[in-house]
Symmetry: C2
Subunit: 453 residues, 2 copies
Amino acid sequence: MSERVLVKQLQGLPDGSVSVSGWVETVRDQKKVQFVILRDETGAVQLVNPATRPIDPSADSGTGDEPQDADALALTSLISELSTGTFLTVTGELKHDERVKLGGVEIKIGALEVAAAALPETPIAADSGLDKRMDWRFIDLRTRRNNLIFRVQTTLEHAMRSYWVERDYVELHTPKLMSTPAEGNAELFALEYFGEQTAYLAQSPQHYKQMAQAAGFGKIFEIGDVFRADPSFTSRHATEFTSVDAEISWIDSYEDVAAMQEELLAAAFTAVAEKHGAEIKELFDVDVVVPTVPFPRIPLAEAREIVKARGYDIPRTDGDLDPEGERQISAHVRETFGHQFVFITDYHPEIRPFYHMRNAETGLTNSYDLLFQGTEITTGAQREHRIDVLEAQAQEKGLSLEGLAHYLDFFRYGVPPHGGFGMGLARVLMLMFGQDSIREVTFLFRGPTRLAP
Amino acid sequence: MSERVLVKQLQGLPDGSVSVSGWVETVRDQKKVQFVILRDETGAVQLVNPATRPIDPSADSGTGDEPQDADALALTSLISELSTGTFLTVTGELKHDERVKLGGVEIKIGALEVAAAALPETPIAADSGLDKRMDWRFIDLRTRRNNLIFRVQTTLEHAMRSYWVERDYVELHTPKLMSTPAEGNAELFALEYFGEQTAYLAQSPQHYKQMAQAAGFGKIFEIGDVFRADPSFTSRHATEFTSVDAEISWIDSYEDVAAMQEELLAAAFTAVAEKHGAEIKELFDVDVVVPTVPFPRIPLAEAREIVKARGYDIPRTDGDLDPEGERQISAHVRETFGHQFVFITDYHPEIRPFYHMRNAETGLTNSYDLLFQGTEITTGAQREHRIDVLEAQAQEKGLSLEGLAHYLDFFRYGVPPHGGFGMGLARVLMLMFGQDSIREVTFLFRGPTRLAP
């Protein structure tokens, strides 16, 4: 039996015997000829079979006395019965033919072996709603568009990790089971831990990536799962998601973090544009724009003024932007600087966690949000590393120092100035692909009403 | 102020002004001269200061009327008070001097700025027990040995991911919150999910990496956290650990999985040996041996015979190896083939999960364990993809088809033959470094009695 060939390799092969494996996308079962579109992870190819039908004795066949080939009859019948989604292997004759729209090649079926037949009724169709598609996500993911999203995810992540590894960052896997909340927030998943303790699921690797700075690791990154028990139903929130985190020592300000992040994103977008740009354009009609560095930076107060001048009054009273405000300031940046990204800086401590360092002169935090095409994808900051200041800021937020005891210990035995960011992977992908919901770019979404499949 | 220079860069720099940042490893506070060993993430350097002590008016100083430099007095005093672990930045004069054992350079301190002073008593010492060191893991991790372990982890992972990415594997992040147990095992962490449902923490990405095959992804990998609620206290088990997983379609047998895994490990060990081999040898007195492929393969029944012939009677009655049996067969392989790895194959279905495919002739599973230096690091298998056989095998194990409904659905709408493996990252590192416990190679270990820091 021939070695399996990927569909994308067919065009480069000479005419002759090949073996392909994949699943049935469509069957066109005509009287005299049968066509099967077979798809694999690299593309689709047309398979063809000259149909051999049983002779209808009642019909005036003219040549009814010719013997029929039992194998040919069986193959024709097998193809007629193929249901969409059936996985199979076909060995046959590859033929280059310019008239074949699908890649200019087709395969005349010699032998066909079904690996696993699909039930005849596919539960979703191209026009099924998002929720129904999520019920049958493993079928939904077979489309070219969805397959592309996860190949792009792979390229994006690998480019980011390569950027870090080349610069001697250490990759961490911090624990997701914690004895105390990481962010001092009540909206946490709790579970019984060996009958004695309560464990919490990490909302972020915040504590531990800071711990790595006290451990003298210098520069670290982690791409891993985090959990949020907020009953949030927006298109931008998930109960479980992949967080892209980095933390670095000996920074002078959050600017050092922002500078690293913009370089990182430029490198990652370059990799995606080079490898997948044409396919993303074809399937999503979206251009992947490699951002120029530095990204524009606008202090929050100024951003609010700009948004107001554009005619939108932000209803929030806490001084932050709201989603429409984010879209407005991003529109301003696009129009003014031709840029898809913008760092919003200088947030008031009231709308930031206690561990953000504050500017001694302005009293504002040394932190930023990064917006991409109108949506926040990151919060970054210099952290407060002075234990007395850190404790005071925690108490000011009403947090118990006892609950934070393990975290605060990290600062008592020496720690360098440091900062970092956390970025939602799915948000970046959602915006890169021009999608409305992170559900579309998450392998298996988890939300308050979605825990399966 | 000068740009920060890493300690490893000092030897390549000319004499002159430099700035280094790190933490105090030791202070030698002599009467006439002070030495500080400063460590950063790349190495250690000797800092030196000619001490300027306050004149004791009662002493016969001889030159007591010379004026004393207040700055010099203050610097000397500051250095005298430095506690181990204090993070600081020193700007001073780099001088190459062959007599300095530590890298042949030293820095004469000009200015010294403390970033965060450590409490004077370090709670652990070099000879502290493992449990105490784990209590203060962020200090424990400052040693060269521990720092190296995580740099090696980074290299190992990046080499594996690069191997996969170059071969068009898709990187996945499967959900850790599940509505049903993945492996049908009762020892699971459960938690309340938005007041209505019970969620379970994934013991493995098994379900979802198989789902990706039904989705037509072809070849996938994931490096992510998994959770085991078994109250296991061995040195090889953890409650939460990083699992290295891959799954591939269109395999002919588990041999295709094994062949990929041995190539992957050879590539990863090559990367580690090249980048860190000398340092691992220096600090752990261990040689990183790049394994030759193929690795030896021994069917389980034959392995048991060999172990018995070596004089060890395996007390287990289920036909499996026990830890001493694993050590014995690995010793045999080392003596016979000079190899650190061995695939043990052909396990009986009774000691394998229901989803392992069985050999039609022997009735044994198409699966393997991979042993590395006497300890199991992996289970791999071809999976049963035929829904009727899969259901029968689940029922034979006493599992409820209802509980597995979401999983079984993956097989009803077409699925290719497939297989994969899961590998414990910490086990590989533990054995590579010749350590007795995975606690030593885990950033923050989680076990039944360990949930903090």
